[in-house]
C-alpha cells in the first residue's frame, strides 16, 4: 500500500527549496505592492494638483467671466458678452468634470459620508424627469415615463441618488441623436427597479465590460459625446453599491439603443 504524504518525513533540502520558492513569490508580490503604492502616491499628488491648481484656475476665470456679464467691470459690448457667456459655460463644464473626478476618487477612498434617510425614490425620479425634459426636447427627443403604483420608499442619500438619476438621464440624452427616452419605474417583489431606455448608439459587448469601470468609456462614445470622461457611470456604480443596490446595462448592440437599470431595496 502506498504511504500517505502525512507520514512521509519532509526532506530538509526539499523544505528549503519550497521555502525559498515561496519567498521569491512573496518578493514579487511585495514589488508589485510597492509599485501600486507608488502609483497611489502619484495619484494623490495629481488629485491635489487638480483640486487646488486646475480647479482654482477654472474658478478664478469663471468669476472674471461672471463679472463681465453682471456689469462688475462696467458696460461691455455684445460681442464681449457673447465670449464671456461661452467662457463661463466652458469653465462650469470644466469644474463639473473635476468635481466628478474628485467625487469618484473620494468615494473609492470611503471619504464620502452618505446621509442615509428614509426617502421617496419616486419623488426624486419625477423631479429629475422634470429637470431633464427641456434638455431632451431641445434635442428633439421625447422623454416618456411610466411609473407604476407602488411603494418607492428607500433608505438612501437624496443628493447622491439624484446624482445617479441625473447621470443616467443625461447619458441617455447625450448618446441619442433622435428618437425617445423611456423611463420606467416599478416595485417588483419589494425591489425598486428603474430603467432608462434610449434610442442611442447602443453598447458593444466589448464596451459592456468597461462601462462601469474607472475611466471606462465606450470605444465610440467620444464620437457622440466629446465631453465623455469615463467617470459618470463609474460614480453611479459606486453610489448604488453604497446603497446596496445594483446597476447594469443592456443593449442589443451598436446602433440599437441601450437600457440602463438600477435596483434598490424598498423599505
Amino acid at each position: 500500500m502506498a504511504d500517505t504524504n502525512q507520514n512521509t518525513p519532509i526532506d530538509p533540502g526539499e523544505y528549503k527549496k519550497v521555502t525559498e520558492a515561496m519567498y521569491k513569490q512573496n518578493l514579487e508580490l511585495a514589488r508589485l505592492y510597492k509599485e501600486v503604492d507608488s502609483l497611489n502616491h502619484q495619484r494623490e499628488s495629481l488629485m491635489h494638483l487638480i483640486n487646488h491648481k486646475v480647479k482654482g484656475a477654472f474658478t478664478h476665470s469663471k468669476y472674471i467671466f461672471a463679472g463681465l456679464l453682471d456689469g462688475t467691470f462696467g458696460e461691455v459690448s455684445p460681442e464681449v458678452k457673447k465670449f464671456a457667456e461661452q467662457g463661463l459655460e466652458s469653465d462650469n463644464m470644466g469644474i463639473a468634470t473635476i468635481n466628478l473626478f474628485l467625487n469618484a476618487a473620494n468615494m473609492q477612498k470611503g471619504l464620502i459620508k452618505y446621509d442615509m434617510k428614509k426617502i421617496d425614490f419616486q419623488d426624486l425620479v419625477i423631479k429629475s424627469l422634470e429637470e431633464k425634459k427641456v434638455g431632451a426636447e431641445s434635442k428633439g427627443l421625447a422623454l416618456e415615463s411610466n411609473i407604476k403604483d407602488g411603494n418607492y420608499m428607500v433608505t438612501g442619500d437624496k443628493i447622491w441618488l439624484k446624482e445617479v438619476l441625473n447621470n443616467l438621464l443625461e447619458n441617455a440624452i447625450k448618446y441619442s441623436v433622435k428618437g425617445k427616452i423611456e423611463v420606467n419605474l416599478e416595485n417588483k417583489d419589494n425591489k425598486i427597479l428603474l430603467s432608462v431606455k434610449d434610442t442611442g448608439i447602443g453598447i458593444t459587448e466589448e464596451d459592456k465590460k468597461k462601462l462601469f469601470t474607472e475611466g471606462g468609456r465606450g470605444k465610440d462614445s467620444v464620437k457622440v459625446n466629446i465631453d465623455s470622461t469615463g467617470y459618470g457611470l463609474y460614480t453611479v456604480k459606486l453610489i448604488i453599491e453604497a446603497h446596496k443596490g445594483r446597476v447594469w446595462a443592456e443593449s442589443e448592440g451598436p446602433g440599437k439603443g441601450s437600457t440602463f437599470f438600477m435596483e434598490l431595496d424598498a423599505i
Binding site: 521555502t19 525559498e20 519567498y23 521569491k24 511585495a30 510597492k34
Partner: protein
C-alpha cells in the same frame, strides 16, 4: 556609527516584513545582540561590542531560511546608505 547600523537593522527588518510579514520580526529576535524594543514603532537596539557583526548575523538569519533572494533584499534595503560609508564601516555581508 551605531545609529547608522541601527537604521540598517530597521530597514532590513522592515523590507523583509514586506515580503514575509511578521515572521521578519520573529527571525530578527533570534539574532544574538539584537534587541527589538518596539515592533510597531520599528525600534531596535544593537549591542555596542560588535554592531557590524550583528548586522551580518541578521542578514545570515534570513538567508539561512529564505536563500540568496533574501540577501539581495537586505542589500537593497540599505543601498542608498552604503554609498556614503567608508568600506571599513560597511558590514561584510553587505559589501
Amino acid at each position: 556609527m551605531n545609529a547608522t547600523l541601527n537604521t540598517f537593522a530597521i530597514r532590513i527588518i522592515k523590507e523583509q516584513e514586506l515580503v514575509i510579514g511578521p515572521l521578519a520580526w520573529s527571525e530578527a529576535r533570534k539574532v544574538p545582540g539584537l534587541q527589538v524594543i518596539d515592533e510597531k514603532k520599528g525600534e531596535v537596539n544593537l549591542q555596542d561590542d560588535d554592531p557590524k557583526g550583528i548586522i551580518d548575523k541578521l542578514v545570515a538569519q534570513y538567508e539561512r531560511i529564505f536563500g540568496k533572494a533574501s540577501h539581495a533584499v537586505c542589500h537593497d534595503a540599505v543601498q542608498d546608505l552604503l554609498a556614503s560609508m567608508s568600506p571599513d564601516q560597511v558590514p561584510s555581508s553587505l559589501k
